[in-house]
């Protein structure tokens, strides 16, 4: 009996015959290939592993391999970045090992420093592994071959493009009667295989041409098209979609149509060269379509909930429980330890540091970690935390997460060894993070449904319907990555010297071959597709499709595959009224359309139409201003009682700064009456006042606050040297004075920052006149921390520049507080720019008219979304989310539309 290479993949029948007759192990590359042969899946690697196993050699787990590489790097390469170097060197190191190159030979072949270093690294790495009878996963086949295993008859299917190590092992293990199914030909694309073939023949294998799968099968015809300029058979489509989600929708709609026609899910396959690019969108759209789809590609543990939580945990501990991180850790669905009550409390006064959190009643006793400990102890602590937070139970809500959890548990065993090694918290955390990056779980484990695969997983399979997504340049073929340690030119050199590394050309060919092999998979139809836009990038069709001779076109009418899609189409058409959601959507659409139109605002746009009795309210000046700026703003705040949830600020916001300055000045000026008092003020007065204000306002501790605070103090203190701040001949009579009064029939209240008594015309030092008001009397001051005067209510041109606060204050103070003293002036004073910003302009009739307008608004319930024409008001208004302002207002109030804001 001979060992036979069967040079084509064969028809279903011939394969069946072959497998039925075959007495021996049947080896398949992937479970999908096994399915075609209807045999249990058993691959070459399992076979090799079982041999190694017998010889008590184990393949190092990813974690152990990585740690060993780190050790090797430490020994060989002088660098302060051991982890980074170990990771960066891995691909090159594995390439060498996989090619079966002996480090000594490598060293002799090239004098380049990199190569020398790499050779030593490989050597040390392998030696370290061997100490524990371990090998790297890249050397499984070579090692198994070295064991000179007893030959047995095997039937090998799906290894259509064998690597050198696979070939060597195959040859070593295949006994008489073995059959190896391979593809071959004379064109470029088979170069790699021709070499393999030659080598096998030298080893005594014979070639048989086997039974050809019908040459007119769709797959065969397509392969012909790919290799030469043959006519494209029917059943081949190439669809261009505008973007990725449209592509996925288009493809899944077709899949849904097939399934509903009775095609079995396992007769359809989705193919993406980059599964991660498509995976999540496919799963999302499939969810919407209620379409069973399976994505089995691996995602690293660090992208699972378990991984994310663990990273949060370690960062939180290392950074000593900063607010955001700790809150996220507690609120995470795996922990669920941040009750609503606690959350609203902590967001107001963010705790920092372990102790602070503990004081709030959070039990962090298991999280109080030291800085140095034994590995086993670290792991023990981590386990305690996991059980304390019930991470196992909570992971159980998602199949993927619990799988991830179990993987982690396995890894922790490895991490705890060697037990006697003492490492720092940082090193341990790094180890855990590395683990999370190295281990993976399937994106969506499970069974059933249409599967998503990369082309390579489909070698040797058959599906009736194949959908190849992402057939675009830059995605298919995948861009060839240059290895930073052993780049393609270096490889070329080494290859010239006879080392069997893979070249750039071979990589490209391998990629092309896997596409070629993919073409064979479809038996009834194959549909390629690509998105014309990926994010912002425009894409070109894949060069492979060009080579096939297929041009992209837009897909013809696709079925509507979900109620969501149906509603989009039905909303403005005749439809059955059975869909309650649609009925509501139609209502929402009408509302929104009217909001967007030039029609008058209605009850969906602030026109409530229900009265409020004006006298039932007390207005502050800022509320009245709000009403005069944008009635809806007042409605949202005053009637709906909306406000941002209170939260401590992460920076000094303008409003907090304002409060801080106001209070400081109030405190500092407590005993000041005249300008002279300012000069003789104790230098400590201001800092003390500032400190007290800070404390009262519970100012957050901001980074660099000591220096920032010094600057604030400096800015504030300059006021005292500024004559305009308190002109000679002026006396402060009151600070922060509250009042309540009637104002044009409205009840108003307010607080005046400062009330001065000006005894006579107050000259300034340069002889000019500071105040154009010559009467003596009371002067009201309003401090501002900005450099411009505040926006007022809208004037006729809808600009927010009529100030009502100062005139209101003047009148109210006059009537309510000082009926006997004339209030002669009021102005805004900038405490940061140290100058007067604007004085009061009193236009009685305008004010009266405004007061009437306020009353009428309230009585008729009229609060349209109507800010000032420049929408300055909106800039600091918190209600944008609610009021839906935007360009739509230009249509409502066209003569007042917005200005350019370049």
């Amino acid at each position: 009996m001979k060992r036979i290479i069967c040079l084509n993949s064969g028809s279903k029948q011939s394969l069946e015959k072959l497998t039925n007759r075959f007495r021996g192990k049947i080896i398949t590359s992937k479970p999908q290939a096994a399915r075609r042969l209807q045999v249990p899946h058993y691959d070459l690697e399992s076979l090799a592993r079982s041999l190694l196993f017998r010889d008590r050699l184990t393949v190092a787990s990813p974690l152990i391999a990585y740690r060993t590489r780190r050790d090797a790097v430490r020994e060989v390469i002088e660098t302060s970045d051991i982890e980074g170097t170990a990771r960066a060197q891995t691909p090159a190191l594995q390439a060498i090992i996989r090619a079966g190159i002996n480090p000594d030979i490598l060293r002799e072949t090239s004098s380049s420093h990199r190569v020398q270093q790499l050779a030593s690294l490989v050597e040390v790495y392998q030696t370290l592994l061997r100490k524990n009878r371990r090998i790297d996963s890249a050397e499984i086949f070579w090692e198994a071959t070295h064991l000179q295993p007893e030959r047995q008859p095997i039937l090998v299917y799906g290894y259509f493009q064998p690597r050198l190590d696979e070939l060597a092992f195959l040859d070593a293990i295949a006994g008489e009667g073995s059959t190896f199914i391979l593809s071959g030909g004379n064109t470029e694309i088979f170069t790699n295989n021709r070499e393999a073939l030659q080598w096998l023949q030298q080893q005594g294998w014979c070639i048989s041409n086997g039974e050809e799968e019908t040459p007119d099968s769709l797959g065969k015809q397509l392969q012909q098209c790919f290799l030469s300029e043959a006519a494209v058979p029917t059943g081949v489509n190439f669809h261009a979609y505008s973007h990725l989600e449209a592509e996925v929708r288009g493809v899944l709609a077709q899949v849904k149509a097939l399934l509903s026609q009775g095609v079995a899910a396992n007769n359809i396959v989705l193919v993406a060269r980059d599964e991660t690019l498509y995976g999540s969108t496919i799963l999302d759209v499939a969810w919407e379509y209620e379409l069973p789809v399976r994505a089995l590609y691996d995602i690293p543990l660090q992208e699972t909930r378990v991984g994310v939580w663990l990273r949060l945990l370690l960062e939180t501990i290392q950074e000593n429980f900063p607010f955001e991180l700790t809150a996220e850790l507690l609120a995470h669905p795996l922990a669920e330890q941040l009750p609503a009550q606690l959350w609203s409390e902590v967001r107001k006064r963010p705790p920092q540091g372990l102790q602070h959190w503990q004081e709030l009643g959070i039990d962090f006793s298991t999280l109080n970690w030291g800085q140095q400990d034994y590995r086993a102890e670290w792991v023990q602590r981590l386990q305690e935390v996991l059980s304390d937070f019930q991470i196992r139970q909570n992971s159980g809500f998602w199949a993927r997460e619990i799988v991830a959890f179990y993987k982690l548990q396995e890894a922790l065993v490895t991490l705890s060894a060697p037990e006697t090694e003492r490492i720092s918290l940082e090193a341990f955390a790094q180890d855990v993070l590395d683990t999370l990056a190295l281990l993976s779980v399937p994106a969506q484990p499970g069974r059933g449904g249409v599967e998503l695969h990369a082309p390579l997983s489909l070698l040797g399979t058959r599906y009736q319907y194949v959908f190849v997504l992402g057939s675009a340049e830059g995605i298919l073929p995948a861009p060839i990555e240059n290895d930073p340690v052993l780049d393609f030119q270096e490889r070329k050199q080494l290859m010239r010297a006879g080392l069997p590394l893979e070249s750039a050309a071979q990589t490209a060919q391998r990629e092309a071959f896997s596409f070629y092999a993919l073409l064979e998979v479809a038996t009834t139809a194959v549909t390629f597709s690509y998105p014309q836009l990926l994010g912002k990038e425009e894409l070109l069709p894949s060069p492979y499709l060009e080579q096939l001779g297929v041009k992209p076109c837009s897909p013809s009418s696709l079925p509507i595959a979900s109620p969501e899609e149906a509603r989009r189409v039905d909303l403005r058409q005749e439809h059955s009224a059975s869909d309650a959601v649609l009925a509501n959507a139609i209502h929402a659409w009408r509302v929104e359309q009217r909001r967007e139109s030039s029609q008058e605002p209605d009850e969906y746009d602030g026109v409530v139409g229900l009265p409020i009795e004006p006298s039932s309210r007390v207005f502050s000046a800022s509320q009245l201003t709000a009403l005069g700026q944008c009635p809806f703003k007042w409605f949202a705040e005053g009637v709906l009682n909306l406000k941002e949830l209170p939260e401590a600020e992460s920076d000094l916001s303008p409003s907090l700064k304002g409060q801080l300055y106001h209070r400081t000045l109030e405190l500092a000026l407590a005993n000041v009456k005249h300008a002279e008092d300012l000069r003789s003020l104790d230098t400590e007065q201001l800092p003390t006042a500032f400190a007290q204000a800070e404390q009262e306002l519970a100012c957050p501790t901001l980074p660099g606050w000591d220096v920032r605070r010094a600057e604030h103090l400096e800015v504030l203190s300059r006021n005292f040297a500024e004559e305009k701040f308190l002109p000679p001949g002026t006396e402060i009579v009151a600070l922060e004075t509250q009042f309540k009064a009637q104002w044009y029939g409205l009840r108003v209240r307010g607080r005046v920052d400062r009330i001065d008594q000006r005894s006579q015309q107050a000259p300034s030092s340069d002889g000019g006149v500071i105040c154009n008001c010559t009467d003596s009397g009371l002067v009201l001051l309003d401090y501002k921390t900005s450099s411009t005067k505040p926006a007022g209510i809208k004037n006729e041109a809808a600009k927010a520049n009529i100030d009502i606060q100062l005139p209101l204050y003047m009148e109210a103070v006059q009537t309510a507080l000082y009926p006997d003293e004339p209030v002669t002036d009021a102005y805004y004073y900038s405490v940061t720019k140290h100058k007067k910003l604007a004085g009061a302009k009193r236009d009685k009739s305008a004010l009266a008219a405004f007061a009437e307008q306020v009353k009428s608004s309230l009585q008729t319930g009229y609060y349209p979304v109507k800010p000032d024409v420049d929408q300055h008001v909106c800039r600091f208004c918190p209600f944008d989310l609610v009021c839906r302002q935007g360009p739509r207002l230009n249509k409502k109030y066209p003569s007042e539309s917005t200005h350019e804001s370049d």
């Binding site: 609120a331 609203s344 240059n482 403005r572 003569s895 539309s897």
Partner: protein
């Protein structure tokens, strides 16, 4: 190829190519590449091609691929190597250098590039941390806010900053002198000045006239200034001229008015000059202070940049900007230079005019021994804000020439037809100065009659404000384009080399900023012309993003009233304000308030929001948004509003953003917190463009680089450029300067600051002109330039050009309606009604293990957990039991006699007792008499079994098989053979064995199935299969079922949780 193209493509050595717009440079570049392959036998791996964008790189590669396939068909080696060839952007080249030489570059070996949006926030935090750590003494001269603002600017361009901070201060005096002379020259050269001089010489009043006195004052002050003398006094003299004087009688007729008018203009001119203070600028105390500040600033800069770099190193991240800096650092090592000299033989750099100085430097080091081809057009250098420096092109061109290379200019335009190109040449000739390049058209004839270039502006009319004029402009553009489309104006088709009627996709509207484009889009849409806005603006500012954001905020914290009310008012629920008004009440928060009402409309919102709240733990935010759409029809609403495509793209864009923020973890709270920061810090998240299709492109001039259309509208030409002074200016040659507020409140401006600011302004003005050049040269057949004002902005910059060519500036005529925003059209309805597949299509399961049937019969939900979800189950007990079962089978199958051998098959943390148990159980089979008959008559073990029932295939492995019987081992705790009846029936059926047994190893018990039992199972099987196929997985909870169920803890229907 033209002779010039050939000269460039086939040059023997290095070559610098000045390629005018549309002169076929990409084509030439591809040929140049091919030349290296063909004539010089260079491998694609040895040619570096640098393009401006990734897209350009892809296109170049694809072009070269086609060329090689066609011209060098026998060189498949080139073709495959091409796929790995270094064709990419400067960034990708820098990235490669960094990753190949991390130590030399000072970067972590496995760095990653920081995500753009979140990266910004992260860096801002790092910056704050670094500032907080700065030694306090450094703040004594430079207060915190100034320090922070200045360092932020310096850090944006580290290389230049470092060099600038090294500069001395000795040259400041010279700079002041330069500024004075330049300013004076500018004044004297000003047309008004010259006219004034002539007029004031021509007319004179009688002596004693007050105006005549002023005229004389002006004349002598002007004369003094012309000599550069008594500057301040002379300027002030002119400034104080009074005009409300003079008597007509003392002047020749009309002269008084002429002189008055002239003096008025002169005074205005001088006022401006005085305000800048440049003519008399001197070093002042501000400069002394700056001298003292600079050492502190330098120290602070180094401290902060070191601190940030250290943080980055620890986090193993780099920003895009870092790549170039570190690549340059690496290339400063000779071994790195040597490494690349060994590798790269030729460099091709496209769009060279937009190279910055860092790139130039590293290119210089990289190309020492290689051939260099640079292609660019200095007139199209428009990336000054990214530090591109147009002079670099000239430096390199000179260098190439001085080393014996060639300089070639491509003048023949394949884009624009002759009459239009003549006009473009004419417009730019007088304004571009030395940069100007006369292009020659390949296409002689225009496809349609003149005018080919029109300039149209909206006239100023009282009562019509700026926004209204902007609408007039928009309407006009829309109308003009509509006419072109309606009248099927002919355009030239590049692909077919024929004329054909214009289509929307042949048109683009370009403007310098994004904002006005939305307006044009609306006007076009209202006129029924399809538009394709390229992504612009901030995603987070769109209504769709805000709605989704409000929803997530509410779900993360139901106390968030503002978010909840936003959601209720939004298309999710569309509540009226009246309803809100009526509901507003006393409860602590709105969600509580909602619970108090039974109103049906409110009940609906309550139910839907509760459903979403229930899911907020289990589902990631992206899925919650989908679910919200399913429950409310949100996307149906936006898909039927005007601008639907744009809205849908924004909705999608937001979901994509959320997906990125989920980081795989899918945690609502974290996502909401991260979004909050993005919103608060006003980080711009780019919107994705709407699909192009056959529509008019709307884009900024910068994104139009490299593109072309038949008709191009360059709009919004009078927009003013906002030039707010910066806190700091610096350049590597002259140094760094700050501007700050002095103690007395006025701004302190050192001479160096003024000088650098002037430089900057000048550079900006020049660049603005080049931007216009790029815009105008995008057109193949026709150009329409528009503005909403009669003068100002860029319109002025080209005025010389219009005048030289005699191109009139046309007025846009309009009626009042044109000042109003248009009513936007609704999206068009589909004209066919496609088939509907709204229902679920089942489970899609086709293959299962035989045991699954039993499990389904017991509890379909448990089956779902186990087989559909592949949930491994909870609870250690279960996992251990499974392991013991597995090991027992292994021991039996392989006849393993000892623990050590068996241990090799086990998980390495399995307890020894378990192994012992498994081994014991296996031995039971050997020892117990009840099992003896089977031990002896076994014909096969581990027999694979396949059985098809209905649409499902079942596979399994029968433990042992004999003549007419099959037996399965069980290590179960409980004896419950009826649970396994389907499994045994299936084995019996598949193997055609009449008898089936279970050996309960724990109980030494043999169960034998009766024929009736098996038959009954067989009859029941098809209906189970149907249930599985239909996806019916409802739970069957019972004390017994749930007690042993590994999913009891997570199953919401479990017996315990009821």
């Amino acid at each position: 190829m033209t002779p010039e193209q050939q000269a460039a493509a086939y040059a023997n050595g290095s070559v610098a190519v000045t390629a005018g717009a549309g002169t076929g440079k990409t084509y030439m570049l591809a040929e140049r590449y091919l030349y290296y392959l063909r004539e010089q036998e260079v491998s694609p791996l040895e040619i570096v091609a640098v393009t401006f964008t990734d897209k350009a790189a892809t296109e170049l590669r694809s072009r070269i691929r086609a060329l090689v396939a066609k011209q060098l068909p026998h060189r498949s080696d080139f073709l495959v190597e091409l796929e790995a060839a270094p064709i990419g952007t400067f960034h990708s080249l820098a990235r490669r250098i960094c990753s190949e030489h991390p130590d030399a570059g000072g970067v972590p070996h496995d760095f990653r590039i920081l995500d753009e949006q979140e990266g910004q926030l992260w860096l801002a935090d790092c910056f704050k941390t670094a500032l907080a750590k700065l030694p306090r003494r450094l703040y004594s001269r430079i207060p915190y806010s100034l320090m922070s603002a200045a360092l932020k600017r310096l850090l944006a361009d580290p290389l230049a900053a470092e060099r600038a901070l090294r500069q001395g201060t000795q040259h400041w005096e010279d700079l002041a002198a330069q500024l004075r002379e330049q300013a004076l020259k500018a004044l004297l050269d000003h047309p008004t000045w010259q006219e004034t001089w002539e007029t004031l010489q021509t007319y004179a009043g009688e002596a004693g006239d007050r105006l005549e006195e002023h005229r004389q004052i002006a004349v002598s002050a002007m004369a003094a200034l012309a000599q550069g003398e008594q500057r301040q006094a002379s300027l002030e003299a002119i400034d104080s001229i009074k005009l409300n004087v003079g008597s007509k009688k003392k002047w020749a007729s009309g002269a008084l008015d002429v002189v008055k008018d002239t003096l008025k203009r002169l005074r205005a001119l001088v006022k401006k000059a005085l305000a800048t203070g440049l003519i008399t600028i001197e070093l002042s105390s501000a400069d002394d202070q700056l001298v003292q500040m600079l050492p502190d600033l330098r120290e602070a800069y180094h401290f902060v940049s070191e601190t940030i770099n250290a943080i980055k190193r620890r986090a193993r991240v780099l920003t895009f900007a870092d790549l170039e800096v570190h690549a340059l650092a690496a290339l400063n090592h000779s071994h790195v230079q040597f490494y690349y000299q060994q590798r790269y033989r030729a460099f091709l750099v496209d769009e060279f005019q937009d190279t910055n100085s860092t790139q130039a430097e590293f290119l210089q080091l990289l190309t020492h021994n290689a051939q260099l081809t640079i292609v660019g057009d200095p007139k199209q250098s428009i990336y000054g804000f990214r530090r591109a420096d147009v002079s670099i092109f000239e430096q390199f061109r000179d260098r190439i020439q001085s080393w014996g290379g060639e300089a070639v200019a491509l003048n023949q335009s394949f884009r624009t037809h002759h009459p239009l190109l003549e006009q473009i040449n004419g417009v730019f000739a007088p304004v571009l100065g030395e940069l100007h390049q006369e292009l020659v058209a390949h296409r002689r004839d225009a496809p349609a009659s003149a005018p080919h270039l029109q300039v149209c502006t909206v006239p100023a009319v009282d009562e019509v404000n700026k926004p209204q004029r902007q609408w007039v402009e928009a309407h006009y553009i829309a109308q003009s384009l509509k006419e072109m489309l309606d009248s099927q104006t002919l355009v030239y088709c590049k692909r077919t080399d024929q004329l054909r009627p214009i289509r929307p996709q042949d048109i683009a509207i370009l403007s310098r900023t994004w904002e006005p484009l939305e307006r044009y889009g609306e006007a076009l849409a209202a006129a029924g012309i399809p538009v394709a806005p390229a992504g612009g603006g901030n995603l987070l500012a769109t209504r769709e993003a805000k709605d989704a954001w409000a929803l997530l905020r509410f779900l993360a914290d139901p106390k968030d009233d503002l978010a909840l009310v936003a959601v209720l008012r939004s298309p999710f629920f569309a509540w009226s304000d009246r309803e809100l008004f009526e509901l507003a009440g006393e409860r602590e928060y709105w969600w509580q308030q909602l619970q108090t009402s039974e109103h049906p409309e409110i009940a609906r919102a309550k139910t839907i929001l509760s459903q979403l709240l229930e899911k907020r733990k289990a589902e990631p935010p992206t899925r919650l948004l989908q679910l919200a759409d399913r429950l409310t029809g949100y996307t149906a609403v936006i898909a039927n509003l005007p601008g639907a495509k744009r809205r849908e793209a924004d909705w999608r864009g937001f979901r994509e953003l959320v997906r990125r923020l989920e980081q795989g973890g899918g945690d609502l709270f974290g996502v909401v917190r991260r979004l909050k920061r993005l919103v608060e810090e006003a980080v711009t998240v780019p919107r994705s463009p709407v699909e192009a299709g056959n529509a008019v492109s709307l884009m900024t001039i910068h994104s139009a680089k490299g593109l072309e259309w038949s008709v191009v509208v360059v709009a919004d030409l009078t927009r003013s450029i906002n030039n707010r002074p910066k806190t700091a200016y610096f350049d590597p040659e002259h140094g760094a300067a700050l501007r700050w507020e002095g103690e007395s409140g006025e701004m302190q401006t050192p001479v160096l600051y003024t000088w650098l600011e002037q430089q900057q302004l000048q550079a900006q003005r020049k660049e603005a002109l080049r931007v216009l050049y790029v815009a105008l040269t995008r057109a193949r057949d026709r150009l329409l330039l528009t503005a909403a004002d009669e003068q100002g902005g860029r319109l002025e910059q080209l005025r010389l050009g219009w005048e030289a060519l005699g191109i009139p500036i046309e007025e846009i005529p309009y009626e009042t309606e044109a000042t109003l925003p248009p009513a936007p059209p609704l999206p068009s309805l589909p004209d066919s009604s496609p088939p509907r597949l709204l229902d679920s299509v089942g489970s899609g399961v086709s293959e299962l293990p035989v045991t699954a049937l039993s499990e389904y019969a017991q509890c379909p939900k448990r089956f779902w957990f186990n087989y559909i979800e592949a949930h491994p189950g909870l609870g250690e007990g279960v996992a251990t039991q499974t392991q013991i079962g597995y090991l027992t089978h292994i021991a039996l199958e392989n006849g393993i006699p000892d623990l050590d051998t068996l241990a090799r098959y086990a998980d390495n943390h399995l307890k020894r007792e378990c192994l012992e148990q498994a081994l014991n159980l296996a031995q039971r089979f050997e020892e117990v008499p009840a099992f003896a008959p089977f031990r002896e008559s076994t014909t096969a073990t581990e027999k694979a079994v396949t059985l098809r029932i209905g649409q499902l295939t079942f596979r399994g492995i029968a433990d042992i098989v004999g003549d007419g019987w099959v037996l399965d081992f069980k290590t179960d705790q409980a004896v419950a053979p009826q649970h396994h009846r389907f499994q045994l029936w299936a084995y019996a059926q598949a193997l055609e064995s009449p008898q089936a047994y279970i050996a309960y190893l724990r109980h030494d018990y043999l169960h034998s199935f009766s024929a009736a039992e098996l038959n009954a199972a067989g009859e029941e099987a098809p209906s189970l299969v149907q249930g599985i196929v239909n996806g019916d997985y409802s739970a069957v909870p019972s004390q017994e079922n749930c007690f042993y169920c590994p999913y009891a803890q997570v199953c919401d229907s479990s017996y315990q949780s009821r």
